[in-house]
């Protein structure tokens, strides 16, 4: 399987994607729903999280990937952009730095960058979105768990299900088995184990065109199954709704589920989830330094609406704080049911 970009797929074109998304507005426009909830225009509350997309390169090629990441993607963040990020973190009291990709660890400057962030402040919460299999992909990555531990990095990893069939169907053949091995390595040095302070959270997202159920219920089930069948421990499970963009949108269209899925998202709009969408407290940085309201807007190439501060080198806290967040129909993915964010439910 190749990325949509390598296939020259029409959905690799963000204008086409947005056009398609907008065709779902017969069931309700996101802006109107926000208006009815007195949330339009959507404004930031406080910028606390900097989510940095270190590049689109990945060792996996998951079917639902909103980044359209994969081994054939070569876009990665250079060191000068990272230096600008470090300045912003230093000068703006950023509390959480969330490193994502692709597989962020494949960026050759990854370890340097993490160490530099840790030097700024021992209390910054550094999160790495680690796909688990990267740890086993090459001997040079085998010591990643120790590296995370030394820098007190929180690990957040996707595991769509506690069995191989569903996991591999979404993330690729053999991914479940490798993920279990990597989780054992992380547990082995204390990640996810009580009393160590080393945090290992898992992410569940549905393997198909349906919404995630209760986060609490799924977490209990995951804990029971992973512990009894695989002796694996973890801290929390975050349930995340699949946002209808990129490869998940391609799947929805190909499988004939697009309209019903959009309808379900729109019908499940929850005003309290809308009030807590993650873009109100996050700025997302692209591999080339441009700024976005979230990783999804980044993939749709919808830059922040603060013309004087659209790139990390031009960071202006007040302009970013006063901007209007760019919304469209894909945002219904964040507001359905109990809500969805990179940290799980929001309502």
């Amino acid at each position: 399987m190749k990325s949509l970009k390598a296939q020259n797929h029409p959905l690799a074109n963000t204008e086409y994607e947005i056009e398609l998304l907008e065709s779902s507005d017969f069931k309700g426009r996101f802006e109107n729903k926000l208006e009815a909830s007195r949330l339009f225009p959507l404004k930031p509350t406080q910028i606390e999280i900097l989510q940095i997309n270190m590049g689109k390169m990945c060792n996996q090629i998951c079917k639902h990937c909103h980044v359209d990441a994969g081994p054939d993607r070569k876009e990665i963040m250079e060191r000068d952009i990272m230096s600008h990020c470090l300045n912003v973190i230093r000068e703006n009291k950023i509390k959480t730095v969330d490193l994502t990709g692709g597989a962020p660890e494949m960026n050759p400057h990854f370890r340097w960058f993490v160490t530099e962030i840790r030097t700024i402040d021992p209390d910054i919460n550094i999160i790495v979105r680690c796909n688990l299999t990267i740890i086993l992909a090459n001997p040079k990555y085998h010591d990643l768990p120790e590296f995370y531990q030394q820098n007190n990095v929180e690990v957040v990893s996707s595991l769509p299900y506690f069995n191989p069939v569903k996991t591999d169907a979404q993330r690729g053949d053999g991914v479940f088995e490798k993920s279990i091995k990597a989780l054992r390595m992380l547990n082995g040095i204390g990640y996810g184990m009580a009393g160590t302070g080393l945090v290992l959270n898992l992410v569940y997202n549905p393997s198909g065109a349906f919404l995630p159920g209760s986060q609490q219920g799924l977490e209990a089930e995951f804990k029971r199954k992973l512990s009894t069948q695989y002796q694996i421990e973890f801290n929390s499970l975050f349930t995340i709704t699949n946002i209808p963009i990129s490869r998940f949108l391609e799947y929805l269209q190909r499988s004939g589920n697009y309209e019903a899925y959009m309808e379900k998202l729109i019908e499940s709009y929850n005003p309290s989830a809308a009030a807590n969408v993650m873009c109100r407290s996050t700025i997302s940085v692209g591999w080339d330094g441009y700024l976005y309201d979230c990783d999804f807007n980044q993939m749709l190439e919808l830059k922040v609406k603060s013309p004087e501060s659209q790139h990390i080198k031009d960071w202006k806290q007040s302009a970013l704080h006063n901007r209007n967040i760019v919304v469209n129909q894909h945002c219904f993915g964040c507001t359905a049911g109990a809500g969805s964010s990179c940290g799980g439910t929001t309502a």
Binding site: N163, F210, P212, G213, G217, L218, A220
Partner: protein, 110 residues
């Protein structure tokens, strides 16, 4: 094409109150209460509902509880086992009545 069952009609379920509101309201309140997390988890209740949907052969309920069990984190194997429970009870219910047939047959036989 006209058919007795139309998947779109499932979405109209909530509107049955149009013809009789007070009973529909009571029913939906009760329905909501039944499916809440209780002595049984919401997940267990959803699997029971899926099995019963097959026993009563309601296509609307089968669609609805296939989605619901998947949302609650059940996999296909668990869902199929639930249907087998329904099938076993249905089959067993027929077969256990054969004792009556056997009794009667013996009663009237030499």
């Amino acid at each position: 094409m006209k058919t007795y069952y139309n998947p779109e009609d499932l979405k109209k379920f909530g509107k049955i109150g149009e013809f009789q509101k007070s009973m529909a309201d009571k029913f939906f309140d009760y329905y909501g209460e039944v499916f809440k997390e209780g002595a049984l988890t919401a997940r267990e209740k959803s699997l029971i509902a899926l099995a019963v949907a097959h026993a009563v052969q309601c296509p609307y309920c089968i669609d609805a509880y296939t989605v619901d069990t998947m949302e609650k984190g059940c996999d296909e194997e668990q869902m199929m086992e639930a249907v087998h429970v329904a099938a076993a009870i249905r089959g067993g219910a027929s077969l256990v009545h054969s004792t009556q047939m056997m009794n009667k047959a013996k009663e009237i036989s030499m």
